[in-house]
Symmetry: C2
Subunit: 110 residues, 2 copies
């Protein structure tokens, strides 16, 4: 049998990958520029193995890219991978703008 359909793998797509807060922390930290794993460990305050595992997930879904330089491994964000997420959320942008407009409108009537 195929069995049931549990929660999807974190590596199934960017949406699942960024559901984890620490992975967003990592991406935030990497946003300005590439960093070696050791720096990421210090920045996010997690154990090194945990960080490596998170980086593995981010790498599998294409949210980060890797470059090796001697003993150091540098990670950098691949913003292109975040784009689908941004585009999906953009679909609803107009709605909160409308809401904001309504709120303002009400405020101005007082």
């Amino acid at each position: 049998m195929i069995g049931t359909m549990p929660r999807a793998a974190t590596t199934s797509d960017a949406f699942n990958a960024i559901a984890e807060p620490r992975r967003r922390d990592i991406l935030d930290y990497l946003a300005p520029r590439e960093r070696p794993v050791g720096d990421i460990v210090l920045a996010v305050g997690l154990a090194q193995p945990s960080v490596s595992k998170h980086l593995r997930v981010l790498r599998d879904v294409g949210l980060v890219e890797v470059r090796r330089d001697g003993r150091h491994v540098f990670y950098r964000t691949n913003a292109e991978g975040i784009r689908p997420l941004h585009e999906w959320t953009s679909r609803f942008e107009r709605y909160w703008r409308h809401q904001l407009a309504r709120v303002k409108e009400r405020a101005e009537r007082n």
Copy 2:
């Protein structure tokens, strides 16, 4: 003991809630206007209990709101809940714009 720290609950925040594709389907379907559960069931092609459970999650994180009218329960999106997601992804927007610019640049040199 507190135990280990497994994957966060889907109801912990919007990021976790929308990690599930069917929930995004539901939000997409609700985007234009409110709908009763029965219509959502037909639209997403899931069993009614599954849909109700997804709606429950979306409701718990504030991504949808409910209105009851007789036997029918109408759900509508609360775009405000998607906003944090949009804003988080916006942080990286400039990067893919830069990438796009670089790609264009290369193309124009040929």
